[in-house]
Amino acid sequence: MIAYNTTGLHNEYVRKQAREALAEGCISNTEFENISAAHGVTGYTPNFFVRVGLALLTLLIATCIFGLMALVLHVDDGFHLLIIAGGLACYGAAEYFVGAKKHRNSGVDNMLIRLAAYCIWGGIAWSTMMAGSGSTAARTAVVFVVCALLAVRFADQILATIAAAALLFCIVTATFSPAAGVWTDDVSAMILLIVSTAMYFAATKAAAHPATRHYQHCLQRVTIVALAGIYGCYLLPPYMLGFYDTMPGIPAWVCLFTVPVVYITIGLRSRSVLFIRTGIILIAISILVFRQFHHVVPAEVALLGGGSLLLIVSWSLIRYLRTPRHGFTFEPEKEDPTEPDMDKVLTTELVDRAGGKH
């Protein structure tokens, strides 16, 4: 099912775990070297910055080849077909680089996979629009199918996220009827809530299965989309369809302010950073939505108040968690000792600009 060599992926996983164990001081250097020797790297995964360079160059080459094809073939009416053909060619190239050249997250394969997805769904959407057929729901369903298939084949987390979001969007567009300005369509909200919940349970159950080891990051993204879907079951339908100015109803407000709190509570109880982070981001979104409809205080007061609150909360928590409590700690995670320093050049700069210094 997965295009990458599973032995290579397994070896990479083992080495990552061993690096973590070494950083934690659980295994010795000799043991780490033994594990590394027994689990050799079989794929081509260059340094992060080289990966970015390769991805940009792949995009340049693919665009130029596409432009050349358009010029040579003198395409006028069938441009959408050329886009689909380009997408299929990108898919073929990705299979070649992954299968024959053993690329794995090299930047080349990542860019080709994403270009394939965008071109195939873009071309199909264009075709249906030109033919005057196909609803928004049908086009979104195409996005879901294309992205889901490619995400399964290449374990790509961005495509997995798009596929999950497209599924929810497809359901919203298929069920929501913007009748006379009423934007809290209960049926649509309930369907979205049920699908999102089902998606959440399916993703968490799948993540616990050993067979999905190489899809963990994809399933995590799907879980986040599902959590966002549950939170926004009343809010998302009108927003997705462009009804930004209609006042949300009471159920929507209840969802907006209770669901993030529930997420944070679950996160604290189960020690899940994913739930806590999602909850915090959703609280910020809820406040922004609330401010869109109710101008309780001026922007500057809100900024000062919010900023002061953040400072007080984070300051108090830092003091409180200096000694680990309830399974949480302020201590940073141990750094990977095998990572070379030069890999951290840019990261260090970004952190510095964010106020830190190391």
Binding site: Q17, E20, A21, E24, G25, C26, I27, A38, G40, G43, Y44, P46, N47, F48, F49, V50, V52, G53, L56, L57, T58, L60, I61, C64, G67, L68, L71, V108, V273, E300, V301, A302, L303, L304, G307, S308, L310, L311, V313, S314, I318, L321, P324, G327, F328, T329, F330, P332, P340, M342, D343, V345, T348, E349, D352, R353, A354, G355, G356, K357
Partner: protein, 326 residues
């Protein structure tokens, strides 16, 4: 850590009994780290307070009074700096660790408030008269002094940004798209700024005064110099070949340096900037043909050169990363 996996590794004889026990104990007592989450919240708090205060000053100029608003900003900044001076460890030419987690953020807030105060003071009372350059020069000096005294690379970045503003190196993307480069002066200033930052980088290393600031100077300096050289090729188009050669020499230096130091970041940066310069020259030559052949040749050039560059980057990566399998 995956306990089942380590049990398998133990069964294969790759890790000892003690190692497995240590891993099991670690997993049983695992603490979830919220270090970066709280630091991000702290940083967001600083940003929101600073932005809120800025808007407050702007909106209430007529109602509260300039003097009071300035006093609030000055007092808040003074409070931040007093805290920093009281808590900071003694100055050293080497690296100095912050005394606590929020020290960095208080200093950053103080610097942002200082900028608000100085800007407002000049805008409202013209304390520096019509010499607007002085209004950016003074805070810049203060920021450099604070960055060195408190050993803060974030404040150093603010100071360098101010230095760029003082020298007149400012690019507005919208204006750039509408009218292109605003003039020759900005390119020249950019070249001077880039060279100055490289000189500062060299001095920091040579005299070992905050030598860890090298990365900040080099990062800003390299990008500014590369962009200015590329801009110079367009602005001084009669002598573009000269600027192209300078760009190639500079790129060559960075590629050589990156290969010796094993630095991927500067390597990729130098390769991509020099490719942009080379493409400019090639496209200029091909456009002279003035027919459809030129379009085809340009496309072929980009495909061919792109493939060659992919090979080159993979070659560099292989040379730098000895443990690569391909």
């Amino acid at each position: 850590m995956d306990k089942i996996l380590f049990e398998q590794l133990h069964a294969s004889g790759l890790i000892s009994d003690q190692a497995l026990k240590a891993i099991c104990d670690k997993e049983a007592n695992r603490q979830v780290s919220v270090h970066w989450d709280l630091r991000i919240l702290l940083y967001l708090g600083v940003l929101l307070v600073s932005a809120g205060l800025g808007i407050l000053l702007y909106k209430h100029i007529d109602t509260i009074g300039h003097a009071i608003l300035l006093a609030i900003a000055a007092l808040a900044a003074a409070g931040c700096f007093t805290y920093c001076f009281l808590r900071a460890l003694p100055y050293s030419a080497g690296r100095v660790a912050p005394p606590n987690v929020w020290f960095d953020y208080v200093l950053l807030l103080g610097c942002l408030l200082l900028l608000t105060f100085m800007g407002y003071l000049q805008f409202q009372y013209q304390v520096f008269g019509s010499r607007w350059g002085l209004a950016t020069f003074m805070p810049m000096l203060l920021l450099f002094a604070l960055a060195y005294y408190f050993d803060h690379r974030g404040v150093l970045s603010l100071a360098i940004t101010n230095l760029g503003a003082w020298m007149g190196v400012a690019i507005e993307p919208m204006q750039l798209m509408r009218t292109g480069w605003s003039g020759n002066n900005m390119v020249v200033n950019g070249l001077i700024l880039g060279c100055t930052l490289h000189l500062a980088c060299w001095l920091a290393l040579r005299f070992e005064v905050k030598s860890h600031f090298e990365t900040v100077y080099r990062n800003f300096g390299a990008h500014i110099l590369f962009i200015s050289l590329l801009a110079a090729m367009g602005v001084f188009h009669h002598y573009y070949i000269v600027w192209f050669l300078v760009l190639m020499v500079f790129s060559g230096y960075y590629i050589y340096r990156s290969m010796s130091a094993g630095n991927f970041y500067y390597l990729v940066m130098a390769v991509l900037y020099s490719y942009a310069g080379l493409s400019y020259v090639v496209v200029r030559f091909l456009i002279l043909l003035n027919n459809m052949t030129a379009v085809y040749l340009i496309i072929f050039y980009f495909i061919g050169s792109g493939l060659a560059l992919v090979k080159l980057l993979m070659h560099f990566n292989r040379k730098l990363k000895q443990n690569d399998s391909i």
